[in-house]
Amino acid sequence: MASLVGSRVERKEDKRFLTGKGRYTSDINLVNQTYAIFVRSPHARAQIKKLDISKAQKSSGVVSILTGSEIAEDKIGGLIAGWAIRSEDGTEMKCPANPPLAKDIVNFVGDPVAVVIAESLEEAKVAAEKVSVDYKVLKAVTSTADAMDGDTIHEGIDKNLCFDWLLGDRQKVKEAFEKADKVISIDIINNRLIPNAMEPRACLADYNSASEEITLYTTSQNPHLSRLIMSAFGNVSPEHKLRVVAPDVGGGFGSKINVYNEDIVCSWAAKKINRAIKWVAERSESFLTDIHGRDHVTHAELAVTNDGKFLGFKNETIANLGAYARVFGTVTPTYLFGPCATGVYEIPAAYSNVKAVFTNTAPVDAYRGAGRPEATYTIERLVEKASMELGIDKTELRMKNFPTAFPFKQTLVHTVDSGDYVAGMEKAKQMADYNGYEARRKDSESRGKLRGIGVSSYFEACGIAPSAAVMSLGCGVGLWESAEVRFNPTGQVTVYTGSHSHGQSHQTTFAQIAADELGVPIENIDIVHGDTDKGTFGMGTYGSRSLTVGGIAIVNACKKIVEKGKRVTAKMLEASPEDVEFKDGEFIVAKSNKKKTIGEIAFACYLPGVRDEMKSPLPEGEEPGLKETAFFDPSNFSFPAGTHIAEVEIDPETGEVKLEKYTACDDFGRIINPMIVEGQVHGGLAQGIGQALYENAEYDETGQLMTGSYMDYTMPRADNFPEFNIGYTCTHATTNPLGVKGCGEAGAIAAPPTVMNAVIDALGGQEITMPATAEKVWKACKNLKKSNSKAA
């Protein structure tokens, strides 16, 4: 039987999506459901002096209006930060309470203060307009860089500082810098982004008064985790009386990890009014209230020798958390960021210092790449600048500082198990025709255009799991993953996974894995996820962990099935279990022609003696049935890496940047489905290039979001990209039996510095911030002209 792992298997999920049969949360309607509209703060920071619902309550169709007072009375818990971070001075981080409905104070535009529930959506909207809130507007803090100097937003949190965290050794870095021939320094803004999954968030909560069970359909990347949080911290319902279903989910990118206010409020309110409640975000609500990403202000320095050896690195970063710390809010700018600060290089001394601040903006949390794009941007911009200042070719300088052997023990945290960064660089250069660049530059020049080439090499730590590691770093839970593999008596297989697919293609990739492990045709394998009533508790999908953690749990559960199959076969065929081999779906007794198919074994396990020659049904002590569960907790993260090369052409008359070529050469270890991996790379690149050239979330000084719609926030479109040239090198991960590494975030991590390095190269080394809009680039072109004419 040909192996499916490694094949371009078409997706099992596609037919329903292509024929309009997908089932997203907003597609679900329940009999007698009501509709919720949230009344949100129009101010970034204000005291609620008075909230009057009397007029709204009389509005047509209103079923109920609930506010922060009822939330408090019912002791419904707030939204939580999932990781505890300790400051350099040993003190614990300081986080404010984040009630699902604000009662006394609002902290960002969009902070909900009340929910209006009505018979129809229109009636809910009309009534919500009639809720009268008397606000005392306070001065908002919106700037990341100046947040520590602003008014105190949350009582008891001085300087709006959540923590001041250090990773690394300041003294060693000081000594390294003293020995340096040259110090390269850079100031960076990592621009704020809005994830913008195409499906707006939604939820539908139902309550059964007889069973006292709440069912919540919601747009979540991790329904089990949502249930845990809502139960353990939200006090919404005991866990066994809460079912969370995340059906088809239209993209997540991190924005659907969090339990949101609306999930908690609708679940709690459904029980209160004893009816189903549906809420669907309008896009403008998504802009205001989905978690945002990035938003760092960084000063970084690299100590180098004249011949280009890196001696030391440091970064001082201010990370904006927004108004509240959410699930991955505090870990994103710390343990997902700092350990990757030194990039793919041997740098003997390093530290990463991060001050995380609260501001009156939407909460900032994990967005595709989460911390690793910010780290990669910093080091790769710095290295590019070093290459310019030292006059050493950008690829040579990088290779000079790559590790020479693996495992590669980095200075800060990670031990990278496998990789070959030189091979990746060389292949990328060849794919991009790096050596032919000068001819292309001259061609651009002859047409009056500026051309630039940018390189970046990255690694990332993903497959977010190793429980021992993450818990020692402050994570509230271990991040293993579960799988259950269940045979039907007639031989088909259902695999239940704790991870969740919202575009990642688990139904296909996981089925390929199970098909190979069990020798069962892929069409007889179903993958089930997204429902806490189906399958074992699992941690969900984020941090490129589904395959490297969840996929391995499936492998391990399959292996248990095979072991049991061997024992049953041995009994049936009167052999010793050690003599039974399993291959391509058949259990074969060694040195004989006696064999059983795995389908026959499944049948025998459930219906012993019905169809086979067994006299005693199962081996002594063996339980009937054929179903196994496995939990996988890897010993380390996985470390994909690669080199990307971009070329841009700039029209100095307009400042327009055209991305001419983009080459990505990545090492994701073993690839299960090349077609799907290719799609993940393309999508990540689009988001990374979007950050570099188009996207920017901007608040004004009063805390109004200036980029709150697709008219204002530049979402990349089809005509913004060239055809990407992607390729791979391969070193297997040593920390899992498939040798796989994560691939979902790589593009978003590597692309921003690659593109910006090209833009800045074209601009003769002038620093500009992301996104490289035509206006900024045009101004830089004018400066370039001025300095060129002076030089002449």
Binding site: E10, R11, E13, D14, K15, R16, F17, L18, T19, G20, K21, G22, R23, Y24, S26, D27, N196, A197, M198, E199, P200, D248, V249, G250, G251, F253, E282, R283, S284, H502, G503, Q504, S505, M675, I676, E678, G679, H682, G683, G684, L685, A686, Q687, S709, Y710, M711, M715, R717, A718, D719, F721, E723, F724, G747
Partner: protein
């Protein structure tokens, strides 16, 4: 309220609608044709594209009452006798979709492109699809799928 008569995916539909009911809402909430998606509130994303009298239209930009008497095709009506349209087949074959949310609008838009331009270039495809936002695919495999479909239609 007024009565509208439409032919939707080949079936005659007569319904009472409010004057301000958007076609997208009408399809989803009145006819349960939830394949047409709503991804924004500014007619930018294109997830709601359907065909009205043979031309692609963002269904959030039309009132159901305004298109009385029209023929509407939604993503649910694209396959014939259970066989997917060549555009649907090409999206599947070349991985032109991931989460699937933008997909119905993207497919409907692409089908209209090939009605108007049988052999579009890459640039023409990218230009035409400018009104459909996809956050997952980076568009590359969508472009490839449209080109593939062009050879089959």
């Amino acid at each position: 309220m007024r009565k509208v008569t439409l032919e939707i995916n080949g079936n005659k539909v007569e319904k009472e609608v409010q004057d301000n009911t958007l076609l997208s809402t009408f399809l989803r909430d009145h006819l349960n044709l939830t394949g047409t998606h709503i991804g924004c509130d500014t007619s930018q994303c294109g997830a709601c594209v359907v065909h009205v009298n043979g031309n692609s239209l963002k269904s959030c930009t039309a009132l159901a009452a305004d298109i009385d008497g029209s023929k509407v095709t939604t993503i649910e009506g694209l396959a014939t006798n259970g066989k997917m349209h060549p555009m649907q087949e090409a999206f599947k074959k070349l991985h032109g979709l991931q989460c699937g949310f933008c997909t119905p609008g993207m497919v409907m838009s692409a089908v209209d492109l090939l009605q108007k331009n049988k052999k579009p270039s890459d640039t023409e495809i990218r230009d035409w699809l400018e009104g459909n936002i996809c956050r997952c695919t980076g568009y590359q495999n969508i472009v490839a799928a449209v080109k593939e479909a062009a050879t089959k239609m």
